[in-house]
């Protein structure tokens, strides 16, 4: 493998990993805290991208896209809260909650996907890059400035998330709710507020991934479905309910995918990833990095 090809594989792996990590950490957070799997998580990426596009059109394209992204985050937090309220909240205490919420979140996915189609139409759109131009390092590798921003900013966001969850009292209360709801209630933690916050946070992280992605490729309502499936693989590799494991797995899978595509081609790569995923589930369902995991329901 030539140095050139190697660096380009490395770079695309980094960009992919960053996006997966943003998406997967939200998915994992919702799983850990609420104990449900949100199949509407991927479409939130598309919603984030379209909302950013809409805001940038409204405030005028002369403004830097970052402002639109900031406003989009606010919208996404609210949307996340609404989704929790409509799709999940009515079913707490239902003995089939895992299954019923698989269905309601799938319905939410259908709703949002077609909602995007209804609101923004089928015409393809793209977001402007966060920063124009290209970056060349010693003539060894060239990448667009937008990709560089993704590679740098995503880990910063994830580090922020990690610190929030582990060092702030609100973050700790979210983790507490995920580990023992009853004990959390007895400590005076408002469990339903934690749920809403978690969903909002996850939606915001995904929305950011969507806005990044929208500056990279053309947007369409189903742009989130493939990344969702990848995020799912990542969450499994990292171990459900383990944020740092999830983040590590995102980078591992991103690179693995980039290398697999390079060596065995685009066609076999997804099949191999799913096969890996099944094996991980069978032999180590607490994930590659997990020490213990939630096994009930």
């Amino acid at each position: 493998m030539s140095l050139d090809a190697f660096t380009s594989v490395l770079l695309s792996g980094l960009v992919l990993s960053s996006l997966y990590a943003l998406l997967a950490s939200g998915l994992s957070l919702v799983w850990t805290t609420l104990g449900i799997f949100n199949f509407a998580h991927g479409v939130l990426m598309a919603v984030g991208a379209y909302v950013t596009w809409q805001i940038s059109q409204s405030i005028g394209e002369t403004y830097w896209i970052g402002y639109s992204i900031a406003l989009m985050i606010v919208v996404m937090v609210m949307l996340g809260a609404v989704l929790e309220y409509v799709l999940i909240r009515p079913f707490y205490g239902n003995k089939n909650i895992v299954l019923v919420t698989v269905m309601t979140t799938l319905a939410g996915l259908t709703f949002l996907e077609n909602g995007i189609q209804a609101v923004w139409g089928p015409r393809l759109k793209q977001l402007p890059p966060l920063i124009d131009g290209n970056i060349s390092i010693h003539g060894l590798l060239t990448l667009s400035a937008h990709e560089a921003v993704i590679i740098v900013v995503s880990p910063l966001i994830l580090i922020g998330l990690y610190y929030f969850l582990n060092y702030s009292i609100i973050g700790k209360s979210i983790r507490a709710v995920g580990q023992n709801q009853k004990a959390a209630k007895l400590m005076g933690i408002n469990v339903s507020r934690s749920f809403i916050l978690t969903f909002g946070l996850a939606a915001a992280l995904t929305g950011i991934a969507g806005a990044f992605y929208g500056g990279l490729r053309l947007m369409n309502p189903t742009m989130g479905s493939e990344p969702l499936v990848k995020a799912l693989i990542v969450v499994i590799f990292g171990g459900l309910g383990n944020i740092s494991g999830t983040i590590a797995a995102a980078y591992l899978i991103g690179f693995l995918e980039a290398f697999l595509i390079y060596f065995i081609g685009l066609y076999w790569t997804p099949s191999l990833l799913f096969l890996f995923m099944i094996f991980v589930l069978i032999f180590r369902h607490e994930g590659l990095f997990g020490e213990s995991a939630r096994t009930t329901t």
Partner: protein, 321 residues
């Protein structure tokens, strides 16, 4: 006792009505809708065996349907099999493919079963997409030969013959599955779901039950897939998609799990309702929005599905009289 009797009477009346329907309804579009409903009803009620009765969060059931679609498609189109042979082969193939999926399911529970079965269906999709020499890749297989009987071509009679083939498949599936769950083995399945420790203590073999459940539920789904393929005369990768899974899962949950009849009834309601919405051209893009909203509303208002609702209503009627 009387409830079972009522159920049987209602089922017989419905069956008789459905038998005579094509004689009065000559509109091939209505027949087409009924065929669709029959096929999806088979997939939904066979899913009920693993998801409802056995309580396995099997999310890959649609993959068995897809395997059926492609088995029939590949055999009839690429290898020149008689469609009448390619159809049962779909059931066999789906049943066989349920065995490898049973292995991880044996070791896992809860959400992990959802994930591993979901991964299995995605794996099927990816294999279909990548092996285009066999499956036609993302374009799928087209111009699959239809069912024929001597010189009678099933594809050219205004959906008359396909209607009966699909109806027969549905009726046989419903009868077979309701019988199956009433056998001692079927009761073992329920015991294992409701009280795994007790069932284990009574010597019920968990592994044997789970494998059998998956195989039994996969066969009708595979057959439905085979028929779907011969009826539409295409095999397209969309059968493995989220959309198909959502559609069938909604039939199952809206109908009510562990009832067999519920998902069948819901399959009719959902197919007809979604077609009814087609009558409003203005609604076009909003159609799926409406369906999604209705599904959430039903799950919210009737957590046990239509079957649970019907049960509550009949209970009330009995009480009132």
């Amino acid at each position: 006792m009387s409830r079972i009797k009522t159920q049987a009477t209602v089922a017989t009346i419905c069956f008789a009505l459905l038998c005579f329907l094509p004689l009065f309804v000559t509109d091939s579009y209505i027949r087409h809708l009924m065929i669709l409903a029959f096929i999806f009803a088979v997939v939904a009620c066979s899913w009920d065996i693993s998801l409802g009765y056995a309580g396995l969060f099997n999310f890959g059931h649609v993959a068995f349907f897809g395997i059926g679609v492609y088995t029939t498609g590949v055999l009839a189109r690429n290898y020149g099999f008689d469609p009448w042979l390619a159809l049962p082969a779909a059931g066999v193939m789906a049943g066989i493919s349920a065995i490898p999926i049973a292995i991880p399911v044996l070791r896992l529970k809860g959400i992990y079963v959802v994930l591993v079965t979901f991964a299995f269906s995605q794996l099927c999709l990816q294999l279909v997409l990548s092996q285009s020499w066999l499956t036609g890749g993302s374009g799928g297989l087209v111009r699959i030969p239809p069912l024929t009987l001597f010189d009678y071509n099933f594809a050219r009679d205004g959906k008359f013959a396909y209607y009966y083939v699909a109806l027969v498949l549905l009726v046989f599936t419903v009868i077979a599955l309701t019988r199956f769950v009433k056998t001692p083995f079927g009761r073992g399945i329920l015991a294992l779901r409701d009280n795994p420790d007790y069932a284990a203590a009574r010597g019920i073999n968990q592994a044997a039950i789970r494998v059998t459940v998956l195989v039994v539920s996969a066969i009708p789904a595979g057959l439905a897939g085979g028929l779907y393929c011969l009826y539409f005369r295409i095999s397209a990768p969309e059968v493995f998609s989220f959309g198909t899974a959502t559609l069938v899962l909604s039939m199952l949950l809206v109908g009510g799990t562990s009832t067999i009849y519920g998902p069948v009834a819901a399959a009719f309601c959902i197919v007809l309702f979604s077609e009814y919405l087609e009558n409003f051209p203005d609604l076009n893009v909003y159609k799926h929005l409406v369906i999604a909203a209705v599904i959430i509303a039903i799950l919210r208002l009737a957590p046990d599905g239509l079957a649970g609702l019907a049960k509550r209503l009949t209970m009330r009627l009995i009480k009132d009289n």
